[in-house]
Symmetry: C2
Subunit: 114 residues, 2 copies
């Protein structure tokens, strides 16, 4: 936990969120500024600043995050029409919260790469 | 292997590609239609159509794909300025080749979500 981190505060229940999935390793909730009809974030419950901080000790967790994205897509009817997963790192990537997260966007055609 | 799959043909050496990383599980190569100064794809060597086809048997592989993305970012000087990872599923996601792949984009600010 990082006491200055917005997402750690959400995990800790200090800031409310519209939760779509939770298990022992990850939390998923709606983005408060959705860029598509469906826009959720999945975050690990442990604090990791950026993708740059990942190592092989996180391999299983990372696989779980992607499998959770698939599950959330299924649960929300996105699987067949389709969806996009995005992870941003640092300034050029457009990362705004420094606790790693994956965006799940769906419900409209997603065009281009940003 | 799927004999009709473009990416399986690249893995098999039947179609050339500008390879940036290879190991026993994944192959990474430059996108032939780059959307940023750096734009590579990472693909698993086993054929998987879409994210929808993933299950827990792929968890370790998925973690390895994300750790490979981090390594490629380091190797190409993208870590500090930043980069974006994108996985597309089916039509709304903009998936064009039905062999799962993750895009790594960097070298310019990436804005919006497509």
């Amino acid at each position: 936990m990082n006491s200055d981190c917005l997402f750690c505060k959400i995990i800790d229940g200090k800031i409310p969120a519209d939760i779509v999935h939770e298990d022992d390793q990850v939390l998923a909730f709606k983005d408060i500024s959705p860029q598509a009809p469906f826009h959720s974030l999945i975050i690990p419950k442990i604090h990791i600043n950026t993708i740059n901080n990942l190592d092989t000790s996180h391999q299983t967790l990372l696989g779980h995050i992607l499998l959770t994205a698939k599950k959330i897509a299924v649960d929300n009817g996105l699987s067949e029409p389709g969806y996009r997963l995005i992870m941003n790192c640092n300034e050029d990537g457009g990362q705004t919260v420094f606790h790693i997260h994956i965006h799940i966007l769906g419900g409209r055609p997603l065009i281009g790469f940003g």
